[in-house]
């Protein structure tokens, strides 16, 4: 089983290729959208590269959940409701939502999609330590 460091190095390589960023920009804390400039199609690009690099299949919505923002039960007045937050944590158990919970505005949602979150997800899929 790969170590967390080994997973991070492979994830970094995938992100450098998908987003044309320098490898020193890819830190565990870096947000994919805010810091690394990822746009919607890049998420699919990242998934394709991760699937190849780790020889896994990533089901739709598994890494980047869909439909959360359009559900009025989960989003009201531009913010995630307590039910929305609970759903988010359920779908992304490997994401660090501590900072986001202080101001759960939809516009801040991109901040939880970090490099560290991807590493955490891959760890659960390949059983890293």
């Amino acid at each position: 089983m790969p170590t967390k460091e080994a997973i991070f190095e492979t994830v970094k390589l995938c992100l450098v290729e998908a987003l044309s960023v320098d490898d020193d920009e890819v830190t565990l804390e870096a947000s994919l959208t805010r810091d690394l400039g990822a746009e919607s199609i890049d998420f699919l690009d990242i998934i394709f590269r991760l699937e190849k690099a780790f020889a896994i299949k990533i089901p739709r919505g598994d890494l980047f959940p869909e439909g959360l923002q359009t559900n009025p039960q989960f989003v009201q007045a531009g913010k995630l409701t307590p039910a929305g937050l609970a759903e988010l944590k359920k779908r992304l158990p490997y994401a660090d939502t501590t900072k986001f919970e202080k101001n759960p505005s939809v516009s801040n949602l991109g901040d939880i999609f970090t490099v560290g979150m991807i590493v955490g997800y891959i760890e659960t899929r390949v059983g890293g330590k």
């Binding site: 290729e17 998908a18 199609i41 699919l44 690009d45 998934i47 394709f48 699937e51 739709r60």
Partner: protein
């Protein structure tokens, strides 16, 4: 009318590989200005030809019921100039397929010599169920009618 930067699809293996040709002619007006006295096929138009070859291949996965939109050119390299009289052969391979998009790698050769290569991503946008998606309507499908294996009754490829 729409912009065609391939003349004919000559081979299509559904969801796997496609091949198309374009004959470059001095009758094409853009070559008069690009460049005066030294006509060179613009590389941006070669990218469009690669996008059409790869896009048709991506469309074949759903028998052309999904709209396929060029979303990202991850890589494009050009190794040689293309001039009037040359025949470009475009060959695309679908290297990744997902629920909402595809990646195709395409190369162009002229007389068997590698001239350009690219890696492109296409987004798949669902069309109206059971109908040919609007990006594949009209003349774009005409490019396929002479292609071996194309079934005119279903507007698709059986295999």
């Amino acid at each position: 009318m729409r912009w065609f930067w391939i003349d004919r699809v000559t081979y299509l293996e559904k969801g796997k590989k496609s091949r198309a040709i374009k004959n470059v002619s001095l009758a094409e007006e853009h070559l008069h200005d690009h460049f005066p006295g030294w006509p060179v096929m613009p590389q941006a138009l070669m990218i469009e030809g690669m996008a059409q070859t790869g896009g048709i291949l991506a469309g074949s996965v759903s028998n052309f019921t999904e709209n396929i939109v060029l979303a990202k050119v991850s890589k494009a390299s050009f190794h040689r100039h293309v001039h009037p009289g040359d025949q470009m052969v475009f060959e695309s391979e679908l290297v990744d397929s997902g629920p909402n998009g595809y990646r195709a790698e395409t190369r162009i050769t002229v007389d068997g010599v590698l001239t350009a290569e690219s890696s492109m991503m296409f987004a798949a946008v669902p069309g109206i169920s059971g109908e040919t998606a609007f990006v594949f309507k009209d003349n774009l499908m005409a490019l396929l009618r002479e292609c071996p294996g194309f079934d005119r009754s279903t507007n698709g490829f059986s295999q």
